[in-house]
Amino acid sequence: MPFIPHTEEDIQEMLTAIGVDSIDALFDEIPDELRCGELDEIPAGMPEMEVSRLMQGRARQDGQPLCFLGAGAYDHHIPAAVWQLTTRGEFYTAYTPYQAEASQGTLQLLYEYQSMMTALTGMDVSNASLYDGASALAEAVLMAVRGNRKSKSGRILVPRTLHPLYRRVTHSIVRNQGIELVEIDYDSESGQVDLSSLEQHAGEDFAALVIPQPNFFGVLENTDRLTDWAHANGMLAIAVVNPLAMSILKPAGEWGESGADICCGEGQPMGAPLASGGPYFGFLCCREKLVRQMPGRIIGKTVDLDGKPGYALTLQAREQHIRRSKATSNICTNQGLMVTAATIHMAIMGGEGLQRVAAACHANTKKLAQTLCDLPQVESPFTGPVFHEQVLRLPLAAKDALRALAAHNVLGGFDLSDDYPELENAILVCATELRSDEEIEQYRSKLERVIAAQVQTPCQLKPDW
C-alpha cells in the first residue's frame, strides 16, 4: 500500500478501538447509491521504478530545442544552490505559515523577499506573491479600482504594447466585476505607447493606466512621461515590469514625479525554470498608502514575549480567511516555494550580479538581432530601445519560418501575426545570457536556409521534415 504505513495488526487494533468491523463501515453515513465502483478507467498503480521509466521517456520525447523564445518566460541560468536549497524538506513540505512560531524559516524568508522586491522595484511594500504575472496584473487592476477613490468608472487604460496574454487573463478575471479594459495603440515607428492615442483619453475617468516596462515588443517605454500623464489625469499608474530588467532600469517607484502606484509582474526570471509555464509567481508591490488594498499574504516583523524579533503574517483582515466576502481577493494558497527560490536567487546574484546578467541578455539580443538582420529581407521594424527582446520582420510567413526552424530544433521566437497582423511576418526574438555566439550563429545559418528554401521552392513550405 504505497505511502500507507498500516500493518494488518494496526488496522485490527484501530477498528476495535473505533468499534467497527471493517474500514468500509466508516463510510456508513454515505448513502449506498452514491458509492462508486472500481474506477477501472484509472490505470493500475505502478512502482516508482516504472513511473520513473515512463517519465524519463516523456521528458526525453520533447527534446531540448535551442531557445530564442521569450514572450514572458525566459531561459536564464539559475545557480545550482537555488533549487538544492529550495527543495529541502523544511521549505518544500511546510504549509502556509499559520503557526508563526513553528514557521520562522518561511516567514523570515518571505520578509527578506519583500525587502528585496521593494529594493528592486523602488516601491514601499510587497506582498508574498500571487499566482503569476498575468493574474498579478488582474489583481493590480482590482486594487487600483478599489484604491482610486476619485474614479468611479471601473475603467482601465491598457496599451496594446502589453503582453496579449496578460490582457486576456486580466480581462477574464476582472470582467465579472464589470471592469472594462480600454486599449491604446502603439506608435508603429518606435514600438512604444502611442502618445497621441493616449492623449485622446485625457480628462476621462479611468482608474488606472497600465505601463509595461519593457513592453511586449521588448521595447522600453518612456515610463516617466506615462506615469506623470496618468497622475495628471487622476489615474493610478500600474507598472508591469520584468524584475531582471528592473536591475538596470529606473525602478517603478521612481518613475516620473512621484513614481508608479502599483508595480507587478512575472517573477519567473528570478530563479524559476521555464518548466512549461509554471509554477512561476506573480509579484505585487505598491505604495504604503495602498497596502490595505493589497491582496495576498503579507509578512510583518514584530517581537515575541521577550522582545526578540520575529516574523508573522500580518494585515490578515484583508484576507479571505478573516474577511470572507469582503476580502481584497479570494487568493489563499500562493506560490511560496517559487518565492523561496527567488529569494535565494536574488541573494546569491546580488544587485550587481543581476545587472551583469541583464546587460548580457541585452548584448546577446542586440547581437542576435544584428546577425539576423544581415540576412536578406530580415529587418527590425521598431526604433525604440530594447531590453532583451526584439521584433524582426521576415520575408516569409512567421508561422512557416518558426515551424521550419523548430524542425531544425530551434525555437525561433514568438509569432506576432495573430495578435498584431498589421506587423505582417513579424516575430519576437530573445537571446538571454545563456545563448552563446555559436548558438546565435546556428540560428542565423538555419534561418538563412529556411529563407533560401522559401525563395527557391515555395511548395516546400509545409515542412515534411
Binding site: I30, R58, Q64, A94, S103, A275, P279, G300
Partner: protein, 482 residues
Amino acid sequence: MIYEQSRSGRQATAQTNFEMPALPDIPQELLREQPAGLPEVSEMQAVRHYTRLSQKNFSIDTHFYPLGSCTMKYNPRACNSLASLPGFLSRHPLAPDTHSQGFMACMHELQEILKHVTGMHAVSLSPAAGAQGEFAGVAMIRAYHDARGDDARTEILVPDAAHGTNPASAVMCGYKAREIPTGQDGDIDLEALKEVLGPQTAGIMLTNPSTVGVFERRIKEIAGLVHDAGGLLYYDGANLNAILGKVRPGDMGFDVIHMNLHKTFSTPHGGGGPGAGPVGVSQRLEPYLPVPMVDFDGSDYVWLTEKERSDTIGRLSAFAGNAGVLLRAYVYARLLGREGMHRVAEFSSLNANYLLKRLMEAGFDAAYPERRASHEFILTLKKQAKELGVNTMDFAKRMLDYGVHAPTTYFPLLVPECLLVEPTETEAKEDLDDFVEIMKTIKQEAETQPELVKQAPHTMPVRRLDDVRAARELDLAWKGQE
C-alpha cells in the same frame, strides 16, 4: 537576516564572473543609478543562511502536521525528481506541439484520471490553486446562466462553515455571497436552505464532507432543491481526500468541482504554495472551461485555446497554470493507481476516526459526537477554555513544544474554541497514539500549571509573537541596520 550579512562590494562571483557589457543604446534617463539594494553576500553565506533558516520550520518531512482542511500528507520524493527532469524543466511554455508531446501526454492523462475519479464530464487543469479553481467554477456558473439569458441570478449560497475562499470567490465573480446555517448535527439546515433558494440563486458552494468534518447525508436532496430552483452546485474539492475512490462528486449531482492537488494529490505545499486547482464540470458547463486544455486528436496531443473554445471563460494565467505541480500530481496518480486511490479515503478515514475515538476517551469533546468523522474532525475546547482559562490557541502553541504542528484553530468559525484535526492516511498508528498522549499531557498541564500552557511555546526559535504590533507598527521590509 540576510541583509545583516551584506557588505558593500561582496559578490557570489562564481555566477557573474564575466564582463559586464555596456548599455550604450539605452537612454540614460531609463537606467537606474545604483544597483538595487539586494544583499551582497557570498554564495556560502547564502547557502548557510537559508539552510539554517529552513531548520526553523515545521514541515511534513520533519513533524506530524495534522492541520485540518489542509491534508498535510507525505509528498513523495519521486514526484519532485520526476517533475524536475531536465526535459520538463527546460520546456518553454510556448514550445510548438512537435516539441511538447511528452508533456502533453501527461497532462491529457491527468485530465482523464481526474475526470474518472470525480465522475465529471470534463476537466481543465489550468487554475493555479483552489481559490482560482473556485473562481473558474463560479465564473462558469455565471457564463452558463448568462448564455441562457438567465441574468437575474445574483446570489451564491455558502454554508456558514465554508472556507473563506468560497464567499470571496463568489464576490470576485460579481455575485453576492449569502450564508446558510449548519444544523446541530453538522448537516446543512435544509429548511433554511429552502427559504433562501429562489430565482436569484445562481448556485451553491458545498464541501462534502463539509468543513465540519462530516458527510452531508442529504446531498442528493440538496442537489434536487438547488437544481429545481435553477441554480447549480459547486463542489469545493478541498476535502476530496476523504472520499477519493469511494464516492464521486459527479454522482452526487454536482455541476462543477475544483480539486486541490496540493492536498488530495499530495503535491507539496511549499510553505504557501504553489498548488493546483483543476476544475471538473458536468456536460452543460463543458463549453465554459478555462483554457488552455489538452486534447488528443487520434494521433497527436493538441492544445485547445480561445480559438477552438469560443465560449470559454478565458485564461487565468499567462500559460497553462502550474505545470510542474500538475506533473507531480500525475506522478502521484500513477504511483497510486486506482487501488491506491481507494485506499486514500479508507485510511485517512480510519486514522481520523481512530484518533477521534481515542481523544474522546481521553476526555476531549467532539463537536459532532454522534457523527462519523470523515478524514478530519472537530474538537471543541470550550470546556477547557471556560474552566481552566486555557484556550485553543494555548493548546495549539503548547503542541509545538511537543514536536507536533497544531491542528487548524478557530476554523470553522461556527464551532467555538475548535481544533480541526486531520491526520491523513500517511501517518502511522504510533504517531496518532503519541498525539493522544500529548493532548492528555497538555490537558493535565492546563489543570495543574495553566501558565505553562498559556505562555507556550517555550522551545521554538521565538516565543509567542506580538501580532497586534505587527499590524499596528507595520514593518514589511528591511530598511537597513537600526
